[in-house]
């Protein structure tokens, strides 16, 4: 430290420096080495009978999904890529034709109040989120009852 503080009040000078550093660190990031990776966006998903609630404005890149069961039954979430030539997910689930869809990711069933989390590296495109649990009657999935949703990831 070569400031004029040295000969006059070194302790006070150092404290000044620490305070100044905090200010400068937030305003003087100029070189690439000073750039820190941004925090990863988190999509909070509420699962309940029979719907998902979440913000569908999802960016591309690494995204963390955190799904909380706010309902009273077991629920889970599974994410699928949706090619553009497929009909809407609701129509697809209720249709008679069979399509093989490979899930990207998901969480195991969560009891009421519990949550699960997973990360995806998303490319721009169309995706669907469904709950694959089967109702107590055993004849319908929660997805068919309404726990199916689409979102489109935009490029950055």
């Amino acid at each position: 430290m070569r400031s004029g503080f040295r000969g006059r009040a070194p302790v006070a000078g150092r404290i000044w420096c620490a305070l100044a550093m905090a200010v400068l660190a937030s305003s003087c990031q100029t070189s690439a080495a000073e750039v820190l990776p941004p925090s990863t966006p988190v999509v909070e998903v509420a699962m309940r009978e029979y719907r998902f609630d979440y913000d569908t404005a999802i960016p591309s890149g690494r995204v963390v999904f955190r799904a909380v069961n706010t309902g009273s039954l077991l629920h889970r979430v599974v994410v699928f890529p949706m090619p553009d030539d497929l009909p809407p997910i609701d129509e697809l689930l209720r249709g008679s034709g069979q399509r093989i869809m490979v899930p990207l990711a998901g969480i195991p069933p969560q009891v009421p109040g519990a949550s699960g989390t997973f990360a995806l590296d998303l490319t721009p495109g169309r995706y669907a989120m469904i709950c694959t649990m089967v109702s107590r009657a055993g004849n319908e999935t929660h997805a068919v009852k309404g726990m199916a949703s689409e979102f489109r990831v935009q490029g950055q």
Binding site: G4, A12, M21, A33, P37, A114
Partner: protein, 505 residues
């Protein structure tokens, strides 16, 4: 695996310790979902918010990856440390990371070739922009180098002294094992960022021919410590031969240098009653002991089956590696209860608190479902806080890569280490996690999760807090007095900031 049904916490004595959310550090959607394991955590010495997590990939093919964080490990982004493999390398494996004193990130990996995944070279890539871009990898060691470890001692200017330790195979190894000895453990260092290496030194004592799984730790005063297992007469594991678990014992040995790695003392036995927990999966992925060093002391941790089931142990050296106290058990469940604790990982926080994490199956009567536990010591390893469970959902260690080698028939690879980064009043832990594996045990879907551990004690001398409070009060008074007399120029503030940032932990 229902998260809400799992008992949340063990060990009430550590009730002041808080944990943050469990965060996935790896994405689940990379084609056929990979087996991510063996994380290592490291913080940039010039910017503690920048943290890196390097890890191995065991399936669908061998690979290595790197996740980076700009918020101290609260979230993770992928980066590409090896966008293009070096000529001749078909796969990247077993990554290690280190920072030099100026914050340059070093990423080391072993290049594999052929169906047998033969190590064809050890490569080093660097990043000067916090992982955004990397240099082309350059070869630092040739073929047949296994179990390579790296660390950088910062006091050697300007780039630090880069230390490497490895196992040098004499020839192409048999499947799952090593060729007949000598296959020594070697060490070398570089003061020019890995461009040139010092003449390699053999670390293991000549009479300890079956030495494997080195670990490397740097201490104050240019101390360098290398730990390794001496398998004794266990040629079955060493050569990757068929057969049951070895019924003899191994030894854990540490060899230390006090001159920055120019010479190493003969090995000191930390413990010679190590009962092998199971067959070694692959001799070149065998988990090394965990080794750390602090002011004056060094600590080594491992797991073994001396009590029937697997327990995690730690031993302390009070004199920098030249003698070792009797080992202590890290896990606090009843001895011999048939539940495993394994793969302990140590880290030392500024101020000397010793932290440890390990896999823990105590909550499962069938000894399968695996949680992660944490403990710490503020008295140099003499005693440890009650174990605290970090995970809210168990993992299944039967999810992972199954190798078709006779030495490890039926065993599943769950990785060779956990990650732990200790800070003054907290820590960051990373582990292999299968809570989201989709199809039960016969998959390879391993993620890596992390969590923050907060409110840990920051040890220091007993007089430090009151004296510190007095100094702070005096400092504030002095600031007010000086501020009224003279205001510094912006240039002076900038100079001060540049100088101070270089000293950040």
């Amino acid at each position: 695996m229902l998260a809400g049904l799992i008992p949340p916490t063990k060990g009430g004595g550590a009730s002041t310790v808080r944990t943050g959310p469990e965060v996935p550090a790896t994405a689940m959607n990379l084609g056929p979902r990979p087996a991510n394991n063996s994380p290592i955590l490291l913080a940039d010495p010039t910017e503690s918010r920048f943290v890196v997590l390097a890890h191995r990939v065991d399936a669908p093919t061998f690979g290595c990856e790197l996740q980076v964080s700009g918020d101290g490990g609260q979230s993770w982004l992928p980066t590409r440390p090896v966008p293009e493999l070096p000529e001749g390398a078909e796969r990247c494996y077993a990554p290690e990371v280190a920072f030099d004193p100026s914050g340059v990130l070093y990423y080391l990996f072993v290049g594999l070739e052929g169906e047998g995944n033969t190590p064809m070279g050890v490569f080093l890539a660097t990043s000067s922009d916090r992982g955004q871009t990397f240099s082309l990898p350059r070869m630092v060691l040739g073929p047949h180098h296994y179990q390579v470890r790296m660390a950088i001692e910062p006091s050697v200017k300007p780039r630090g002294r880069l230390h490497l330790v490895w196992l040098q195979a004499a020839s192409d190894p048999p499947l799952g094992g090593l060729p007949p000895p000598p296959n020594p453990i070697m060490a070398a260092y570089s003061d020019d960022g890995g461009e040139t290496l010092s003449p390699p030194l053999q670390i293991n004592d000549a009479e300890r021919e079956l030495a494997v799984a080195p670990a490397l730790a740097l201490g104050p005063g240019r101390r360098v410590h290398v730990a390794y297992y001496d398998l004794g007469d266990d040629v079955v594991d060493y050569r990757g031969l068929e057969g049951p678990r070895w019924q003899g014992t191994w030894s854990l040995v540490v060899s230390s240098s006090t001159d920055g790695g120019q010479r190493f003392a003969p090995g000191t036995v930390v413990d010679d009653q190590i009962v092998p927990p199971e067959r070694v999966m692959l001799i070149f992925t065998m988990p090394p002991p965990s080794l750390v060093a602090d002011e004056g002391a060094a600590y080594a941790a491992w797991h073994d089956a001396r009590n029937g089931d697997w327990d995690a142990f730690v031993a302390r050296s009070p004199d920098g590696g030249f003698s070792w106290d009797a080992p202590r058990r890290l896990n606090d469940d009843p001895t011999g209860n048939g539940r495993h604790q394994y793969l302990p990982r140590l880290a030392v926080a500024p101020g000397g608190r010793l932290d440890a994490v390990f896999y823990d199956r105590r909550a499962d009567i069938e000894n399968i479902e695996t949680q992660v536990s944490f403990t710490f010591s503020t008295d140099g390893g003499a005693s440890f806080a009650p174990n605290r469970q970090l995970t809210s959902a168990p993992s299944n260690p039967e999810v992972g890569q199954r190798y078709s080698v006779v030495s490890a028939e039926g065993l599943v690879e769950f990785g060779s280490r956990l990650g732990l980064l200790s800070r003054r009043s907290g820590a960051l832990a990373a582990w292999t996690d299968t809570r989201n594996a989709s199809a039960g045990r016969f998959t390879t879907e391993q993620d890596i999760f992390t969590t923050q551990i907060r409110s840990l004690p920051a040890p220091g001398p007993g007089w430090a807090r009151p004296v510190g409070a007095v100094l702070i009060a005096a400092g504030i008074a002095a600031v007010m007095a000086v501020a009224s007399a003279r205001r510094p120029t912006l240039g002076e503030l900038g100079q001060a900031a540049t100088t101070s940032e270089g000293r950040l932990p």
